[in-house]
């Protein structure tokens, strides 16, 4: 159910809470916070109808800084808590803020099930490929062989590709953006907010303390054009300083390839089969060599919230009498006997 929109004259300032922001200086989270606060007024949703729910980790401090309703919950559980809230309060706009450890390690189960159910949640996953709050252990998105405090000989486990994972759970909205590209970030948030159902947004976020410059290849002006693929609905998927690279679907191949020249595929996020978006998600791995950003998938299917609400509405229509009378009726529905 869409949140009620009203004529509101809110500004970014209205969404700033009175709490002192306590991220490390230079953290990518500042840029994301500013982008979110700056974009919120566009939604036209009263502040009291917006709720941010987070888990544990650096990113999960986010709700404290938003002047909306908010809950800083426990590690990995934000999607579960938000599901209960969203399912019981379809009038609210519920946002989940999480990180790579929170969402993909300790909370992996809740994430995939929220996406599978298509709960009406906007899930922002700040991916910095490292554990920040616990001071620098590798995360489930760290590249294989990552040397950290807990893996001095290099990590031995392959990372998740968060978008592939979300698409495997058949998420209806899947997108990726970057902390430092405010315009792109806000455009993706806008599309996520407009989506009915679960919207999963991976935000590449720099941790300048424990994993600095992890995404520099696709951020730095001198290199990004040859590595960053901007997905635009209805546009050919081309990139490179001169637009010389195309994403193509070779005849007989399972996935997509990058090549110089040739007929680029026209991007369509509304393709129902998740295989297309999955193929897009496989273009990039740990090396970021060819990294698409933008909306990968944006399809409609009934949300968990609306199915539950419909069941409630249908069932309530059958009830007659006052609640107490209905309760008396319920208690008496069985083989009863009366003693005089």
């Amino acid at each position: 159910m869409a949140s009620p929109t009203v004529e509101l004259k809110l500004t970014a300032k209205d969404f700033k809470s009175d709490q002192e922001v306590r991220w490390c200086p230079g953290c990518g989270d500042y840029a994301i916070l500013a982008a979110v606060q700056g974009f919120m007024p566009e939604l036209g949703i009263p502040r009291e109808n917006i709720v941010f729910i987070s888990g544990i980790g650096c990113s999960s401090r986010f709700p404290y800084y938003m002047n909306t309703y908010g809950m800083h919950s426990i590690h990995g559980r934000a999607p579960a808590i938000a599901t209960g809230l969203s399912a019981s309060r379809p009038d609210l706009s519920v946002w989940v803020v999480t990180g790579d450890g929170d969402a993909l390690s300790i909370g992996g189960n809740h994430l995939i099930h929220a996406l599978r159910r298509n709960v009406n949640l906007k899930i922002l996953l700040f991916n910095n490929r490292i554990y920040g709050l616990t001071k620098g252990q590798y995360s489930p998105t760290s590249e294989l062989g990552k040397i950290t405090k807990s893996t001095p000989a290099g990590s031995a486990d392959s990372p998740f590709n968060p978008l592939s994972l979300a698409l495997g759970a058949e998420a209806t909205f899947v997108a990726r953006t970057i902390d430092s590209d405010r315009k792109h970030l806000q455009s993706v948030l806008r599309a996520a907010a407009d989506h009915k159902g679960s919207a999963f947004v991976e935000i590449y976020q720099n941790c300048n303390i424990f994993n600095d410059n992890a995404f520099e290849m696709i951020k730095d002006a001198s290199s990004r054009d040859d590595h960053l693929i901007r997905l635009e609905q209805g546009q050919p998927i081309k990139f490179g300083a001169e637009g010389q690279f195309s994403v193509v679907h070779p005849e007989g191949a399972f996935g997509l390839r990058v090549q110089e020249g040739g007929d680029a595929l026209i991007h369509d996020a509304t393709v129902d089969d998740p295989a297309y978006a999955f193929a897009l998600s496989r273009l990039s791995g740990s090396d970021l060599n060819t990294t698409p950003i933008g909306v990968f998938r944006n399809v409609q299917r009934p949300t968990y919230d609306e199915i539950l609400q419909k069941q409630l509405v249908d069932a309530k229509a059958e009830g007659t009498g006052t609640p107490d009378e209905m309760l008396d009726g319920l208690l008496n529905t069985a083989d009863t006997w009366t003693i005089l």
């Binding site: 502040r47 809950m71 919950s73 009830g319 009863t336 003693i339």
Partner: protein, 617 residues
Amino acid sequence: MSAGAKRVEQLDRVVIRFAGDSGDGMQLTGDRLTSESAQLGNDISTLPNFPAEIRAPAGTLPGVSSFQVHFADYDILTPGDAPNVLVAMNPAALKANISDLPQGADIILNTDEFTKRNLGKVGYAANPLDDGSLDAYAVHPVALTSMTVGALDGLGVSKKDAERAKNMFALGLLSWMYSRPFESTLRFLERKFAKRPDLVAANKAAFQAGWNFGETTEDFSVRYEVKPAKMRPGTYRNVTGNQALALGLVAASVRSKLPLFLGAYPITPASDILHELSKHKRFGITTMQAEDEIAAVGAALGAAYGGALGVTTTSGPGVALKGETISLAIALELPLVIVDVQRAGPSTGMPTKTEQADLNMALYGRHGEAPLAVIAPKSPSDCFHAAIEAARIALTYRTPVILLSDNYVANGSEPWLLPEAGELPDLSVEYARTPNGEDGRFLPYLRDPKTMARPWAIPGTPGLEHRIGGLEKADKTGDISYDPANHEFMVRTRAARIEGIEVPDVEVDDPDENARVLVLGWGSTYGPIGAACRALRQRGLPIAQAHLRHLSPLPANLGEVLQAYEKVVIPEMNLGQLAHVIRAKYLVDAVPFNQISGLPFTAATLESMLEDVVKNG
């Protein structure tokens, strides 16, 4: 079906146990005899006993499922220690239950199943029907299966369906033997097989054949009657603890005018509460089968944050998983009801057997100083009122409450005097609507001076936007705080607000007023303890009984009650968890008496133990 011309004897009470394979329909058969007895006006108490395996290999001991029903012409407290009648559908059922029977008990055996192969499966070298090993009992060999199949000849049902109706033959025979009214069973069959008229006809015919067999065979020379019990006037139904608990939650939702949100993950023996509540959406109840136990309590907490009556139902292993979220609920100071239908542990333990060993976990099983309220129902029908009480405490004091049911009350049943909805407690709550601080500021941790509850300010309320979380909060403002003095204050405040919950005084049943020994119990042991006390008093041995519903906080008068007796005995289905609490808190030298067999205490066990204490101190 006429009454027949056989001799009729009056009995004051009977205990009947049906036993057979898991697929033989013993639970249903027992349930029907219970319902018939309830219709007649007997007091009743039942004990189902079944394996966790859905269909263990046929004819084996692990596959035996049984259902015991006790009916009487006076008020009874337990399903009975020893059956007067055993219906054994196969050799495994006989072998698994024979040791519980007193000499002279009636045994009705399905001879069709006493084949060499089936006897061999359970290690009978000789057929107990022939070798004299059952001489101490009144054995009635009945070819239940073949007589049922014969009776259904011509009805057009398959041989398999005909054989499956043998439980109705057995029910028909028992209904005749004990002069039960059977109309409710016929109506039940019509409902159950509404889509299969052939099965309605077959099962009715099997029931009738069983009844007629009793009337005509010479093997059953006596028919028995058990007159209605004198019970308080009113309308009754038979109810299991799980049903009553679910209905109590519905009632709590109605009486609080809050939508109920249940987050649950299937687990024995709690799943029936989820099943029951999922049928009552017309009351505005949402049930969510979550991906795991943690999500189940998380979703319930999320719904509570949004203003719902949040509930999660589980058993011990689930509570262990929910611990961290329960601690969060304690920090957030939001209402939440956690139902733990206890089963034998640790780990998977014995999922269909009963135990009271989660008391320590309920009281202490969380990280940090994390107090909450704990209550326990004492009988199947009491689960209804306990659920309402759990909701009352949760809503009034904005705290998680653990409701400790167990498998014994959850699956056992008894007659329930139906309450009037309008006379149940009013659980209305007020959400916060306006700022409570200076300059229009909202202080989420400013407390109500009486209950110490903080305001319940739900999303959607303009002007009360605020942030809460698991980090320690500053008093009143709820801002993050690492201040040492504040933390000490908040820890003490959270403890004080649980200690400050108003709970009724514990009542002492000491009719002779000269007892030296007090027996103190909690939860489902109420029935067997009460029955044991009655038996002792009838024999002129004075004893006092007190039973705790509230385990946290404990009733204010408990210390005084304990001090008034020379000896305090605490029977529990664990290794003495309440006894530890009582000894530590009141410095009373309480004597624990413990049974951890997965089965409830029998009244006889407790009577003999208490007799020893009363006589020998």
